[in-house]
C-alpha cells in the first residue's frame, strides 16, 4: 500500500532483467494463485529469491528492468512475494505502466550504485530521495496523474472510484 516513506532490505540485480526471467512464459497462461505466482518470482534469475523474500523488501536494479513481454504477472508475482518498492535506473515502458496500474510503487534512479544485496535503503516519496549506505539518490517526482493511481492502490480501485462504484 502507498506510504510516503518506505524502508526495506535490498535484492540487487543488474541491467535488462527481462519478464521471462521474472515470470517464465510457461506459467503465463495457467491460472495460478497469488501464493503460487510468488513461488515462481524471479525463478530463472535468482532461485534464492522466492524462498527468502520478506514483506517490504525492495528490488534495486540497473537499466531497462522488466523488458520483454507485456505479461503483468512479472509485476504481480513480485507484489504477491511482498516486494514493497521497485527501484531501477530505468524501466521498460509496459513494465512501468503495469507497476503503476498494480499500485506497486516504482522509482527511477541510480541507487543500484550505492547498495548491495541484503543492505537496507529508505525511499522518501515526499522528497524524492532514496537513501543508501553509500549516499542519497534523487528521483523525479511522478506526475500527479500517476500518483493518483498509486494513492488509490492501483488502476482498478482508481477506475472504481472514478465510475462511482463502492
Amino acid at each position: 500500500m502507498w506510504k510516503s516513506v518506505h524502508t526495506g532490505r535490498v535484492w540487487k540485480y543488474g541491467n535488462d532483467v527481462n519478464t521471462d526471467v521474472i515470470y517464465p512464459g510457461k506459467y503465463t497462461y495457467s491460472d495460478l494463485s497469488p501464493e503460487e505466482m510468488a513461488e515462481h518470482a524471479l525463478e530463472d534469475l535468482d532461485p534464492e529469491f522466492a524462498s527468502n523474500v520478506q514483506p517490504g523488501d525492495i528490488i534495486v536494479a540497473g537499466t531497462n528492468f522488466g523488458c520483454g513481454s507485456s505479461r503483468e504477472q512479472a509485476v504481480t508475482c513480485l507484489k504477491y512475494a511482498g516486494v514493497g518498492v521497485l527501484i531501477a535506473k530505468s524501466f521498460a515502458r509496459i513494465y512501468f505502466r503495469n507497476a503503476i496500474n498494480q499500485g506497486l510503487p516504482i522509482v527511477q534512479c541510480a541507487a543500484v550504485e550505492g547498495v548491495e544485496s541484503g543492505e537496507e535503503v529508505a525511499v522518501d516519496f515526499s522528497t524524492g530521495k532514496v537513501m543508501t549506505p553509500r549516499g542519497d539518490y534523487s528521483f523525479p517526482p511522478l506526475s500527479s496523474f500517476v500518483t493518483g493511481i498509486l494513492e488509490d492502490g492501483g488502476l482498478i480501485p482508481h477506475v472504481r472510484r472514478k465510475l462511482g462504484i463502492e
Partner: protein
Amino acid sequence: MGQTFAQKMLAQKAGLREVEPGQIVTVRPDKLLTHDNTAAIAKIFREIGVEKVARPEISVIVLDHVVPAATEGHARNHQQIREFVREQGIASFYDVGEGICHQVLPEKGHALPGYLIVGSDSHTPTHGAFGAFAAGIGRTEAAAVMATGEIWLMVPHTFRMSVKGQLQKGVYAKDIILYIIGELGADGADYRAVEFTGPVLGEMTIASRMVLCNMVAEMGAKIGVAEPDDKTRAWLNGRSDAGFQEVFADPDASYERAIEYDVSGLVPQVAKPHTVDNVVPVTEVLGTRIDQAFIGTCTNGRLEDFRVAAQILGGGKIAPTTRLLILPASREVLLAAVVEGIITELITAGAVVLNPGCGPCLGAHQGVMAPGEVTISTANRNFKGRMGCKEAQVYLASPATVAASALAGEIVDPREFL
C-alpha cells in the same frame, strides 16, 4: 512548430489541438486487442464491478498463444473467453486456427491508417506498419479500457529512422532491424515512438514493414510506424468497410533523434543468446551446431518468408540432426502457401508444419527445447527460457538464414544458398 506522428495522433484522439512529449493524455482507442489473456482480463473486468463492456465494437479477440489448447487448463481458459465473448456481444472474435493476432487484425481490416490501437501484447506495435498508432499495454489496463472505453498514455519523444541504400541479395528487413537493435541496445528506444522512413521503406513490402514495426518492442519503443502509401492502400483494399484518415508527421516536426542508415553494405545479422541486442554478422557464428530451426511467428511468418524458405529448401533435405518447424502467421498465409506449392516443398524437404498461432515462440507448447539444445528462429525474442528451457539457446535471424541453416545443420550464410 510541427508535430510528430505520435503527437498528432494522441492530440487527435484526446480531442486536443496539440500535445507535447511527456504530457499524459486520456484517449479513446479505436481498437482494443486481447488474446489468450482475455480470460484473465475478463476476471479483472468483473472485479471492477461493471456489467457490460463500454465499447464492445472496439474489442478484437484472437485466440493464438496456446492453440489448440495444450492442456485442460488452457482449454478451460479458451472456454472462459468464448463465454465472455457471447455474454458481452463481442463481434470480432477469432477462434483457434485463424492465426496470430498481429496478422489477423490487419487481414480482417482492424488495423487501419490513423487508428489508435492498444493491445495486451508487447508486439502490438506491428500494426504501425499500416500507419496506425499501436502500443502494447498490460492486462489490468486492458480491463480498464473494457470498463471505461479510454486509457491514459504518455506522449512519447520520437526517433526518426531513415533507411536508404540498396539491400544486397540475402539481406532482409529482419537483418535491418536486428542491426538497429544491436546498435541502440535493448532499451535504446525506451518509451519512444520510432518513425521509419526513407527510400528502402518505400520499396519494402507491407510484410517487411511489419517486421520492422514488430521488433521496435525489442529496443523498448512504445510504437513503430511506417507512412501509408499506395502499397498500404492496395494491401488494405477490400478488407474493411470502415473509412480511415491517414496521419503523417509534419515536415518540420521536432525529433529527439534523427538517425540515417545506409543498408547497402549490410550483411545477414544474427542475435545470439540470450538478448535480442546481442547482434553480430552471421559470419561470426558460422558453424554453430543447431538442433532445431523455426520459421514463423508474428515477426516472420508471412508468405514472403516461406517463399524464400522454399527457394532455399526446395528439392533438398534438411540435415538429419535438425528439426525444422514451419508456423504460418495465419490461415490466410497458410492457404496462400498451400496454393503456391510452398508447403509441399517444405514438407518434402523435411519440415513439420504447425497450425497458425504463436506456437513454440513463447515456450508453452510445440517444439519446446531440451537442456543443451540450440534453436535458430525467425522470432523476435531469445531470452533465457523463452522456448521453455533455460538451459537451451536461441539464435534469431531472417527466414533465409534459418532455412539455409536447417539444410546445413549449423548456422550458415544464406547468401551462399540463393
